[in-house]
Symmetry: C2
Subunit: 303 residues, 2 copies
């Protein structure tokens, strides 16, 4: 087993990690994405960072493969980025081929939530489990399903849009055009909107969490409502898929028990007892290392 590099390609930042044969991150780099500069430029800057990481190895060691997690939609089989709303400069591109040719290394590419899920599954909060659902809650809400060790893609490669599961058909309007989507209760902007409606203060989810911890009842209520919506969605997923481990990542998950406790408390009301008793809802353990370790894990199949 050789060294690999795991890359988390985000809308604003690109994080890279040099990962050892023992799946430890030996060194990290972080640069601005600056996608507007276009594909060739972004790939060149990634390649510069990969080379800087590789240069830290001894002469007997080498980087053998690279894994990349990127925002969707993308085609993980063809290695192409599709129409990325937040990354127009590199949208609709054969990203994997261009990066692989530039590096002269094999490259694996998959959706960021799936890659982070692989990290948590193999090295973090899902370690030792057979199956797991990773729910990433940030600006948007998405998920990746791992069943019997393998990612679940669906027929058109878009499985995991659980942010738009309906948790209340007459509930809050969602920016997607529907009503009562999970994302309309748990996404960062949804938290800010609800708190602003209650108080007039337009602050971030992290600030609402800080106020909740200081005893602000309305801030607490925002997380209770969000956690309740999350619990309802998890109950339906657990009943339908009989998967027991739910790992919650993304920026909103940093609220920890403010979000997870009401989710746990809601579960028994919306699932069979035999099911809810076995479900564990836990916070991501690896945080920002999850996509790096997951991408490097994914790259193992190229070796």
């Amino acid at each position: 087993m050789s060294h690999r590099i795991g890359i988390d390609l985000g809308g604003s930042k690109i994080a890279l990690g040099l990962v050892s044969p023992a799946d430890e991150i030996l060194a990290r780099r972080r640069i601005d994405t600056n996608a507007a500069a276009g594909l060739e430029r972004v790939v060149k800057r990634i390649a510069d960072e990969v080379e800087a990481l590789a240069a830290t190895l001894t002469s007997e060691e080498a980087v053998a493969a690279v894994g990349v997690g990127a925002p969707g939609p993308l085609d993980h089989i063809k290695g192409e980025l599709l129409t990325l709303v937040n990354l127009p400069g590199i949208s609709n591109s054969p990203f994997r081929r261009v990066l692989s040719e530039r590096l002269a290394l094999p490259v694996a590419l998959d959706h960021d939530a799936k890659v982070a899920a692989l990290g948590e599954f193999h090295f973090g909060a899902g370690r030792g489990r057979d199956s797991m659902i990773y729910i990433v809650i940030g600006t948007g809400v998405g998920a990746a399903i791992i069943y019997q060790g393998a990612l679940f893609y669906g027929e058109g490669n878009s499985a995991g849009e659980c942010g738009h599961m309906t948790v209340d058909p007459r509930g809050r309007p969602c920016h997607c055009g529907s009503r009562g989507c999970l994302e309309a209760y748990t996404g960062g902007p949804a938290l800010s909107r609800q708190y602003a409606e209650m108080t007039g203060d337009d602050i971030t989810g992290a600030d609402i969490a800080a106020r909740a911890r200081s005893g602000d009842e309305r801030a607490l209520q925002v997380f209770i409502d969000a956690g309740r919506a999350l619990g309802i969605a998890i109950a339906s997923l657990a009943m339908t898929l009989n998967i027991e481990t739910f790992v919650i990542g993304g920026s909103v998950a940093k609220a920890g028990d403010l979000l997870l406790e009401p989710a746990h408390e809601t579960l028994p009301g919306y699932a069979f007892r035999a099911v809810s008793e076995r479900v564990r809802v836990v916070a991501s353990r690896l945080g920002e290392d999850a996509p790096i370790l997951g991408a490097a894990h994914m790259a193992k199949r190229l070796l």
Copy 2:
């Protein structure tokens, strides 16, 4: 490929079919289940019917394997029936081993919804598809998920309890103790209860369907509400799993478009357009033949 026998073991009836190497049902038998008589007696009566069916074959032909669909919970790997509320006489029994020894034939056993789903997937409404979700709506509501040709079991073998997905968290109480479960809107007893609340008439789902077809507005409304709940559940399943073919079976599905049209109409309001445009919700094509053909198909792996 040899002849097989497919068996649909139900709460009140046992239906058996002799299935040809070309997957055609050549002959059928039907007996009362009479589970209260106990395991040995039920198995003996099934064996008598199997032998009667086998006796219709020529001397060059033979039955090579048997497949059985039965109510859950059951353990398809060990071949055991677990605690079956409606079949106490044969609950908690090594059903597959006992039947196999009695017949001197290999026997496969799985959950009735999964077996019917296999029938529709290979020979009915899901033929030619990669993946499919079969939702059976009768007294209860359950589902079987087929992904890339294989049944999805979940970690504890209980995937598919989509009758207890939440379609409205403040909705109708369900007998399971939760609120707003899909089953509380679409199950046969739920249809009767809603119609009785509206009219005072306590009639079956089939009778409500007949009244709806005669223009009874309140009967129509019962199916509109049921179809709407079904559409919300299907939208969430389609967003989460990216599976596009939904086949609806069970006695309530006999209402056909009374149920399926409002389901279809509800979908776009609760799923991305790119998803709802690709989803097909269709009625079971094989009806009561689905479990027989599915059970016989399942038995192929024993040959």
